[in-house]
């Protein structure tokens, strides 16, 4: 692993609320990053942007400033929880440098922009493994990134028999 032992690589790992992304990070730590590497892991999380709500919805429900502030706090809490889980996984490799990056926006754009801006050497991400119909409607973040980033991409699908504890939205 000449490159790892040399200058170190910039590895972007996309994390989200699903255990798939934590599994991908865990797989990367075990299989791509070595104990003595000088690699930098950049954990990137795309926080859903604040939505502009009308003062009242169709059912007459009032969106007060308090409710909107609570929703924003909820999004920040989820982001913090996701990052906390991810960083805990990295503790086994104390020599690697870990950076956090939380950006508002569509995950596809946030991930691709981060990879490009940092001139990353590798992008690591999980995949939800949606069925054909759901994938056709939702599109696939990993598929989009595979076609749009200009660096190698490692897509880790969680095997059916395994699992890691993710961040449960309460």
């Amino acid at each position: 692993m000449a490159e790892t032992e040399g200058k170190g690589r910039r590895i972007v790992v996309a994390v989200d609320e699903g255990e798939e992304s934590l599994y991908a990070l865990s797989w990367c730590l075990q299989n791509v990053v070595s104990q003595n590497s000088k690699d930098t892991l950049i954990l990137v999380y795309a926080k859903p942007p604040s939505t502009v709500y009308p003062a009242m919805d169709g059912t007459g429900y009032l969106f007060s400033a308090d409710i909107i502030a609570s929703m924003e706090k909820y999004r920040r809490d989820v982001a913090a929880c996701v990052m906390e889980n991810a960083i805990r996984l990295c503790k086994d490799l104390p020599n690697i440098k870990v950076e956090k990056k939380v950006e508002n926006g569509d995950p596809r754009e946030v991930i691709c922009d981060t990879v490009e801006k940092l001139a990353a050497d590798l992008l690591v991400m999980g995949t939800h493994g949606y069925g054909l119909i759901k994938r056709a409607f939702l599109g696939s973040v990993s598929n989009y990134c595979a076609q749009n980033v200009n660096c190698p991409i490692l897509i880790v699908k969680i095997p059916k028999s395994e699992g890691v504890s993710g961040c449960k939205r309460s």
Copy 2:
């Protein structure tokens, strides 16, 4: 890299005539496989199956047995050339075990079947980076594999500024 130093992994690398697949193999050797690993690399090549031609085509051109035999020999030669190039790249890591696998058929099916049969730990492949229109018509082998294999997949796109010498069809 605990897993590499332990029992070793079975890494399937899809190779073809394009330099993209040789670049993917080279990237994998530098970034995923370590000098002292017990990994096994399985180089898989999908050879286009023999086509059943009519005795004479629309222009009156005769497909003799000789011509058909020459075409089959040509396909075998290309397969041998691709494998030779790939194995040459692996020479820098003399400790890893390298296996060759040449199968007739559609690359998508051949690659996915090989990964499944060998219970591979990782699939590595290049991507031709076709434009949107061409991709829509041809489909993407890497996209198909990403959706259908049940193991992590590393897709390596060749950067625009780099290149490796592949096997030129003469």
